[in-house]
């Protein structure tokens, strides 16, 4: 079997814009799921609302495309009703951190056994580019015409603090590392959170002088700061540029988890 067997090929090509990074994250997730050797009948993909949340519609297994922000609430229900099922959640930054923020912290706290892949495109893509809690400071969006003035929500750090068992962040450019991180997340009992920074050339890039897809990829590549390097810089007292985000593994631990089959 290969990752290809998990796609609903009759539904491809998908509706994502040219150069949208969401497709890459689906590739990486299915590659990791395939490497786990899971059965299609025991795997469920769950999502909320948004461009990113359309992903389960292109996958052959059973799936739930739920209401905005409530993917984790539905996922918790599915897992507790039948702990033998493998749960993978696709979500966006707006879906997870804005309207679904409370479900997120409590799913981390309860440490429900599931893997959450958040495609963070730093904007509300589907509704045309409103600012999200993850829009970088100074970035333009339809709701921040003079530049975003609020600080960014660091979702990976939030998941660590709230109690998730495994947390990692990569970008759509780091496909190999991202696939490995997702697979580690799938293997870890308890709540695994993988944040994937992705490009949205349509709603984000177009307004922020990153119109070309290659510009957005270069942005992700140059703004990613390796965890090891960040730690070294902190030790040496070097200032960390505020516009950069750390990539790598944030935590791996074994707090008591909910919904792990006995």
């Amino acid at each position: 079997m290969s990752a290809d067997d998990w796609f609903r090929t009759d539904r491809l090509p998908h509706i994502y814009c040219t150069g949208c990074g969401n497709g890459t994250i689906i590739n990486c997730t299915l590659e990791a799921v395939d490497a786990m050797g899971w059965n299609k009948n025991d795997t469920v993909f769950i999502s909320g609302i948004g461009c990113s949340s359309r992903a389960p519609g292109y996958i052959v297994t059973d799936s739930l495309h739920t209401t905005h922000g409530r993917a984790l609430a539905f996922a918790t229900g599915v897992k507790l009703a039948n702990p033998r099922l493998h749960i993978v959640v696709f979500t966006g930054d707006g879906d997870l951190a804005a309207i679904g923020g409370n479900h997120f912290i409590h799913a981390c706290r309860r440490n429900v056994d599931m893997t959450v892949v958040c495609m963070n495109n730093m904007i509300y893509g589907m509704t045309g580019g409103q600012g999200s809690p993850c829009t970088p400071v100074g970035a333009l969006s339809t709701t921040t015409p003079y530049g975003m003035g609020e600080p960014v929500f660091d979702l990976a750090e939030l998941a660590v603090t709230a109690g998730a068992n495994y947390v990692a962040r990569w970008t759509s450019y780091h496909v190999t590392e991202l696939t490995r991180a997702i697979q580690t997340g799938l293997e870890t009992p308890g709540f695994s959170f993988i944040e994937a920074m992705v490009q949205c050339p349509t709603a984000y890039g177009r307004r922020n002088k990153l119109r070309q897809v290659s510009d957005m990829i270069t942005y992700l590549k140059t703004h990613a700061l390796l965890m090891q390097k960040k730690k070294r810089m902190e030790e040496e007292g070097e200032p960390i540029p505020p516009e950069m985000f750390a990539v790598g593994e944030f935590t791996r631990r074994s707090r008591p988890a909910l919904g792990v089959p006995k």
């Binding site: 290809d4 491809l12 759509s172």
Partner: protein, 90 residues
């Protein structure tokens, strides 16, 4: 194995041209019947996967296939197998 771009899926984003270590994918210059400029392949037989996938029995490199957001890149079996003379410059 032969490297192919599925013209019915490719949306012409050119991300593949940024990642291939051999720079096999080059920006295309011709609209296809779907109105997409699909990248052109520069001597695809140089691809590690085309040459060695059969020998190793698994996918090697494959970074273009992983990063292509539209699942448009794949390798096809060539039958009968045609050996290529490959020149690799470093």
């Amino acid at each position: 194995m032969k490297l192919v771009i599925d013209e019915r899926r490719c949306k012409g984003c050119n991300i593949c041209t940024m990642v291939c270590p051999y720079r096999i994918f080059r920006e295309g210059d011709r609209l296809n019947d779907r109105g997409v400029v699909v990248p052109r392949l520069d001597r695809p037989e140089r691809c590690t996967n085309c040459r060695l996938q059969g020998l190793y029995g698994r996918r090697l490199c494959g970074v273009c296939q992983m990063i292509c957001p539209d699942q448009a890149i794949r390798w096809e079996e060539e039958k009968p197998y045609e050996p290529h003379r490959v020149v690799i410059e470093f």
